[in-house]
Symmetry: C3
Subunit: 467 residues, 3 copies
């Protein structure tokens, strides 16, 4: 009885935790929606909202059909052993339940292990996948065609992102720190990457793809003048920007602490330490960016503050589990600092990223990957990973973790930018990527979505009839 | 010790789950508030927000006093046995705690059974009741009087909705699948209805009442011209519409998975399967509606997309626990499809439902009830209900479940529409249901609520003084 | 094994509960942000949003460095025993983990006891601290300088608030009901205060400081005319006001039920009773205020409704655990009633509090403290506190609890108003507290934050270029 009850309660609690975390990460989509809607110009507000909602609609279908099987599936199409590059099992939940073989019927019905192959795991990972895709929608805002959106959303959620998940988070991947030799085959890098909650897996994939997408798509009309000077396009609703950021921060308490995937076996203490580190990183990132904003522009503006907070949160994803809280604050600080100047550098390159999505997610994520190899202390790394995982270079374990993390960051960069170039480049060559200049001037809401996002009623006469 | 500890932890986890789910369903009220506020015209934005907030204020009082006792109370006023039509015990929490008799004092203080008669159960059910009432506020928006609102909100939360809950979800009801013969008496239908999370109980009650309310109230001035052609009244804030939909989707993760009412005893696996089915149904509904919108109007608009998602979520409530995830996707697809055309049919009947609330909740709910009798597989039905509950007609169990679900849908329709006709018809006859044409032209915010919802400061001079 | 497993699961569940509650209370910051942003004039919308976001950024750093150690730390700087006035241990998480001494290394890594000295406890308490600070930002809105904001936010989060926490909630405080004689020293009041979730600790500290801050800062230009008549400054966005209130109500389900700090040992039943009491108090407060509004102004406006709900929620914080649900409804009713007239009284005193923050949090909190000594029933008080804690004066336990609660309320008032006078008075004397009249007329967004909060695109020509 005892062992059974112990296993039962551990299972319930771990599944519950994964569900709660999944719900919180889901809500981040509302945060992105408000942040992006608030930041674009009013004439494209409805368009960006539609895209953010569609990210979930399209994403759920694609993640169900292809994304999750590519990410966490073992085996390959021909029934051979799992490989380190991509999974191939469980398409549309078909034949995806290993635990079913020989077990009790109820185990055939529901996958059991909570971490990755349960329904709760699918849900949690789906919310992550939606995040990676949404990041790009910010960078291509106000000028990307809807067909272009559908194509890239499908590719990112269904292929570009899942492959990186397979590399770094599945038990089969060639870069994973969670390799299970009993089921994995092929060469792999040891030690594996420390990317606890996805500085590279989620944010760099999204941010790198966003950067090439924005570059290939070209700037919005009027963004750069004849002399190459950038014109500021002010957010059309600062309240939405602030609300979106606060919802995102809230959702991050699912994103990072939930990445323990369990509470039993002592992980509850890790989860709450991660929650504290996440908080301090957001604080550090906010401080850095608002200070930089004041130094450079002599005023305190909301978008830099929000992007600094987000960059701090992005940066800490990698090392939050292996670092002391003070180190998380420092990581956030560096992330916010780097993001601020990286955003300006991207603008100098004449790349128009309306949300500074590349700076936040690529910039913050890259810094985070480096920090994940620098700030891990021995005791924290043992608790979060194992005694075999090296701690950070600043804490006496040498540079091996830093080297692996750098390798992973570079590989993710190459993969995401390469695949992004193929997908967006092909669409550009096919002439289906960008709306016409007339449509862009008019705004997407009127040209594609049946009318403006807002109606103040001034086109109605006093009796309520439309003029 | 062991059995005690087992019971204790099961209890804690089940109560905790119910609280979490209740909180999530509560937040759906914020989702409805934003969806409805964004959809109405600007001049009535404050009015609809006040009604959504009041739904909770009034609803808590009424649910405490009458609604919950009618829904889940056993016995009757005279102390006789429970009947299948309506409960009558525990008004204002007085004498409502069966578990108190002969037990330990602490059991008198707090009801124990988490599923329905605990405080957590009350809270969870209250949030459901508020949902049913809120649905109607969308259909009567922009022209219903405040006294009319107070009357119908009280009747729906306090009587129309609780009676249906008693029929279908209480252990006493004549249609319930959870009948407890040791405490229930009278005739009942066997097998009971499969309406896991309320396609009929919540959504059809709200949607059917909404339809008769909108019909009795009559269309908004200017909605239909002399030739009977409908004029589009565009949502005044599309960002609110999108935000509201995303919050509703988020809250649905309490609404559907929380309807397991427990996590122990294997229900955690059911809860997460339900969460996945809910996700895929939303996806299916969104796909169906946006496609229909494009086919019919040649553009992609936000309100149809949002209503399609919501219709998918509504439709899947009934059968989500007994269906495979792929079936949930199909159910959502059918729900979104049906809702799109049902909304147009309602408009053709010259009924003005500003939110398309009837199409989403009545239409989606009705389709959902049918699907709940068609798509249940044997293994899932056994896991969610019991071996005695028939599976769906498509899965080899014959048509009995379909017949019962159809019967329940028709009975709920008759009850809700009948009661709605009485309540709204009486108020119309009494002349208290609708505001005057002058007030309607002016907008409710200015005429009833002390001023417009928005103030852009243009009526203030530069020093901040009002002109 | 058994005892170990029992302790392990209790620990997991209690820590999990604290995390969930912390996340919910965190989200209240988004609620405050929307409520405050919606209520101020449009020209200061971005400013107030920045302050609300900065409350978390600054608050996290200060709470980490000083606030939490002052609040819950034992000992003093010189290593002496703990005192009842202020803690002095664990600055920046350094040497703050008592459980570390002699224990297992993993206990040195993560503090263990979930209630106050764990990371989850820190997070939960941090979210509370942010609330206290945010309350003040409403009262000084539209005219306070940014340096003034930074100074007072640091003082409240880092000193004024933590000292009161130490008095009333720490095991060391001179007013606490949770005194642990084995570690505490010095004189104390017995019985301790009943302030379960912070009517005094959080809300009176915020509300009292807010009142003196608004008084010292002076009214906004144009608020009172030459004859002393107040001009109404309408909220610029009623939808934000409603959304903010609903999010706050949602977050309150972490604030009050989470204040059990545990679910094990029967506390889950207390937590859900608290959730129900919280609901009914909000209902009572809303009813009272909307009724008063109708009686006084003959219309039903949103801000009074929202403030009434909030005042009910504030008032019930103190006694919610020791009172029956019906008593919570009554407490909310009284709170909403008192708040309505207190707000008018403050206006009559020519104090300009744009959010009526003092009326809601000081007024509601003060009433709540009195009710906490009046409405506690014996059985509820025993379940929530102990058999030694007196029940309320209305329930046969005499006036001792009322006397202690009144004493605490007065002491918190003296402390908060005194400290607030020093901090705000010093800044006023130094001439750094208030922006110039020109900046105020222009609005803070344009004068300090790089431009207006909203941009409707009318300054752009049709091709998207700015004019």
């Amino acid at each position: 009885f005892e062992a059974t009850a112990y296993a039962e309660f551990s299972g319930i609690i771990d599944h519950l935790w994964l569900m709660i975390a999944a719900f919180l990460v889901f809500l981040m989509q509302a945060g992105f929606a408000m942040l992006e809607t608030g930041t674009v110009r009013q004439k494209n507000a409805k368009n960006i909202m539609i895209k953010n909602v569609m990210d979930l609609v399209v994403g759920a279908f694609v993640w169900w059909g292809f994304g999750f099987p590519f990410a966490y599936g073992g085996g390959d199409y021909s029934g051979g052993p799992a490989n380190g590059f991509i999974g191939a099992q469980g398409f549309f939940f078909i034949n995806g339940y290993d635990s079913c073989e020989g077990g009790h019927p109820s185990e055939c019905l529901y996958p059991i292990a909570p971490s990755i192959d349960s329904f709760a795991g699918w849900l949690f990972q789906w919310a992550f996948a939606a995040t990676a895709t949404t990041i790009v929608s910010g960078a291509v805002a106000e000028r990307c065609s809807f067909i272009g959106y559908l194509v890239y959303a499908t590719f990112i959620t269904g292929f570009i992102y899942p492959v990186v998940v397979h590399w770094i988070w599945s038990p089969y991947g060639w870069l994973t720190a969670f390799r299970d030799p009993s089921i994995a085959s092929g060469a792999w890098v040891s030690p594996g990457v420390v990317d606890f909650a996805g500085s590279s897996v989620v944010h760099m994939v999204g941010g790198c793809t966003a950067l090439v997408a924005a570059a290939i798509l070209g700037p919005r009309i009027g963004r750069f003048d004849a002399n190459g000077n950038m014109k500021a396009f002010a957010p059309h609703n600062a309240a939405f920007v602030g609300l979106g950021t606060l919802i995102l921060w809230f959702g991050w308490y699912g994103f990072n602490p939930g990445s323990t995937l369990a509470l039993s076996g002592g992980f509850v203490l890790l989860a709450e330490k991660v929650a504290v580190g996440t908080t301090l990183a957001a604080s550090g990132g906010g401080f850095a960016a608002i200070l930089m904003c004041f130094i450079k522009y002599r005023h305190l503006d909301l978008p830099p503050l929000c992007n600094g907070i987000l960059a701090g949160l992005v940066a800490v994803c990698s090392g939050v589990a292996v670092s002391e809280p003070w180190a998380c604050f420092v990581i956030g600080l560096i992330g916010g600092l780097f993001e601020f100047w990286f955003a300006i550098a991207i603008q100098k390159m004449k790349i128009d990223d309306p949300l500074d999505a590349a700076a936040v997610h690529f910039g913050g994520g890259f810094i985070g990957m480096l920090c994940g190899g620098l700030f891990g202390s021995r005791i924290n790394t043992t608790a979060a990973y194992s005694e075999d995982q090296p701690c950070g270079a600043f804490f006496g374990c040498g540079g091996s973790q830093f080297a692996v993390n750098l390798l992973a960051a570079v590989m993710v960069m190459i993969w995401s930018m390469g695949m992004g170039t193929i997908v967006f480049g092909a669409m550009r060559l096919a002439g289906i990527l960008r709306i016409s200049p007339e449509e862009e001037s008019m705004g997407l809401d009127v040209s594609h979505h049946g009318g403006a996002a807002y109606d103040d009623g001034k086109n109605h006469d006093s009796s309520g009839f439309e003029k």
